[in-house]
Homo-oligomer: 429 residues x 2
Amino acid sequence: MNIPQSSNPRVVIIGGGFAGIALAKKLSKQEFQVVLLDRHNYHTFQPLLYQVSTGGLEPDSIAYPIRKVLQGYPNFYFRLAEVLKVNTDVNLVDTNIGSLKFDKLVVATGTETNYFGNTELEANSMAMKTIPQSLNLRSLILENFEQALLTDDLHEREALMNFVIVGGGPTGVELAGALAEIKKGILPKDYPDLDTRRAQINIVQGGDRLLPAMSEKASEKAEAFLEELGVNVWKKLRVSGYDGKLATTNTDISFRTETLVWAAGVKAVSLKGLDGEAFVSRSKRLLVNEFHQVKGFDNIYAIGDVAQMESEAFPHGHPMMAQPAMQQGENLGNNLVAESKGNSLKPFSYRDKGSMATIGRNKAVADLPKFKFQGVFAWFVWMFVHLYFLIGFRNRVVVFINWVYNYIKFDREARLIIRPFKNHFKTKE
Amino acid sequence: MNIPQSSNPRVVIIGGGFAGIALAKKLSKQEFQVVLLDRHNYHTFQPLLYQVSTGGLEPDSIAYPIRKVLQGYPNFYFRLAEVLKVNTDVNLVDTNIGSLKFDKLVVATGTETNYFGNTELEANSMAMKTIPQSLNLRSLILENFEQALLTDDLHEREALMNFVIVGGGPTGVELAGALAEIKKGILPKDYPDLDTRRAQINIVQGGDRLLPAMSEKASEKAEAFLEELGVNVWKKLRVSGYDGKLATTNTDISFRTETLVWAAGVKAVSLKGLDGEAFVSRSKRLLVNEFHQVKGFDNIYAIGDVAQMESEAFPHGHPMMAQPAMQQGENLGNNLVAESKGNSLKPFSYRDKGSMATIGRNKAVADLPKFKFQGVFAWFVWMFVHLYFLIGFRNRVVVFINWVYNYIKFDREARLIIRPFKNHFKTKE
């Protein structure tokens, strides 16, 4: 892998998400040689992926080159690599570009979509966890409308314009809201020769309320906002199968749809060699102590969504969001530096800054530690917070301009099929 | 294809480039039913593709949804389709989504890369005529540097960092300049563990000067600018073969390179059924008269790069640039409207607004009809003109912001490998 020997201990970080980047930034003082591995050469700002899928933002403005984050840090190495295995007995990771010894290993691999073993669902539904996936969804949505124009079969046309989003968490809610706004503001103008009123947006939630991790008030209001936008909200309903045409559920309700977005579950991205039952939770997360050490290891840590730190306040670990990930990365970074200097370590304690979801124009819900609110003000706060946490000045400006433009013009101009998703539309390029 | 019958004559336009869009805009007054066909759902601002390849701009900001251009035009139809054949005897086009009768047909298909029959070159080199192609090149450039880090073989490493651009027209010159700036400003910071001074940028031109369509002064200055930036300029040299590793030429000079960009020739995109020898020029362009009618046809027109209108001033047709294409589209539009009203038609006459090329920061060359100039002022004019002709207010603002940012920070932040090009880096997404 061509990483030079160093007299400083080598910290290998797997994953350049919120947790991995926050950690790397704390390790910039040369106590360590740091190697960051990721299968993408960029950091993805996941909370805005749904805006890429719906043409509101360019993919490039929610991505940021990892090399640029680490520019100027001495003794830092980035490698574009896929980790194949961790050999805990000899402190070695195997990757597709070779093996690497580590003194300390930090797993920050995050989560991936969980289909709970349903391979048919996995094969036919769309996920939205990465930029390429979000772009595939963007292409598919637009292709479906192009195709809907061409058919005289009303059933087929309706299936092409019928969107089923499974999962009532923030991803599902935000995507449903954005699609509803496209239906209202853009489709009638873009497709005057199509009766776009027949387009349907459905959100299907297994539990009895949307946004179950938020307050009841937020759930209520999110549902009301979605209904105001014309979204069909289905609760206590579970999608059990999807063959690419028909989505079946645990009841006799079914949906004829060409687009099923699966946002109903995630699981930790597990690494071979680090998947022992002794230290993996039911949701495949790595069990860690308050110093982020994986159970049973001294020099292997896990932070972010992949880590499960159980405590009284969080018996199943922290929520899988950017905030806990960043705070864990920072705390581990501080501790590694402290340890190298012989100072005492700080156990992790999560400062809850609250959570938010946006449903659409002027419509958001926010649960802050001190107060909960919904509506226009929550929407402005949501935008401000997301701009603040976005990495890169240029990204912030471009995203801001897009939002202002989209708001004033009721528009989303990135509705481009750059890489067709359906075979029907593919060209050789 | 589900286009309703109309009492107005149907004009079918193939291609949503500069010519096709300019024509469509002129036909918005309901004298006709207009159907625009394109294999992409967006218009591409081709002059800026090289900035996408080199990470300076997001692809989405130089693309514009065709449906949005035509929003609100009555009796307009867009279809995402690939034209397979024109049946001139029965006024019918066959496409991958069905057949369509026309009263008038306008071919505005533009050009594609011409490898002059060299299939080995075609298979191994990169083209830069479309957004997906430009993104492939962006991925490949970045992947090569990631891979260069991994090898101990100096020859291999140098081949990965050796760029050969074949063709000394504006595309080749602008790409070479942008790569040289990346080498200087970004590589040393992004790859501190790689000796990026070994990276080479070569531009290979068959003729005896770069930018042969411009003034001698512009050619001279462009060459000087490139050399100042450290680009190796090769003139009177022709690349004759490339197996993916070694580029051979008509002399004993050869290049070991993993990246060969072929910008040495274009040919018209010809349509089956409209490729008769009687009306096709040597470069495959359709011969048209001064009213844009394809030789031998009354109701079939060609505009833009695909058309060859021979005149005393332009014995081989107009230059293949945006300006002639737009002017031809506008003139044909005006003529079609005039004809439908029984007014007289205007033969096309090209108003040369000049041509320009940018080599890098503060370095451009401009040949305007009245005066020719080079340097900082030309560079500002170049930027202003490109912003002016870019379609869409949002695109203009986003491009402008990117340029200001890139200028101030000596940076290009869109260096993202969103879709890996080399198999080595591909993941399933």
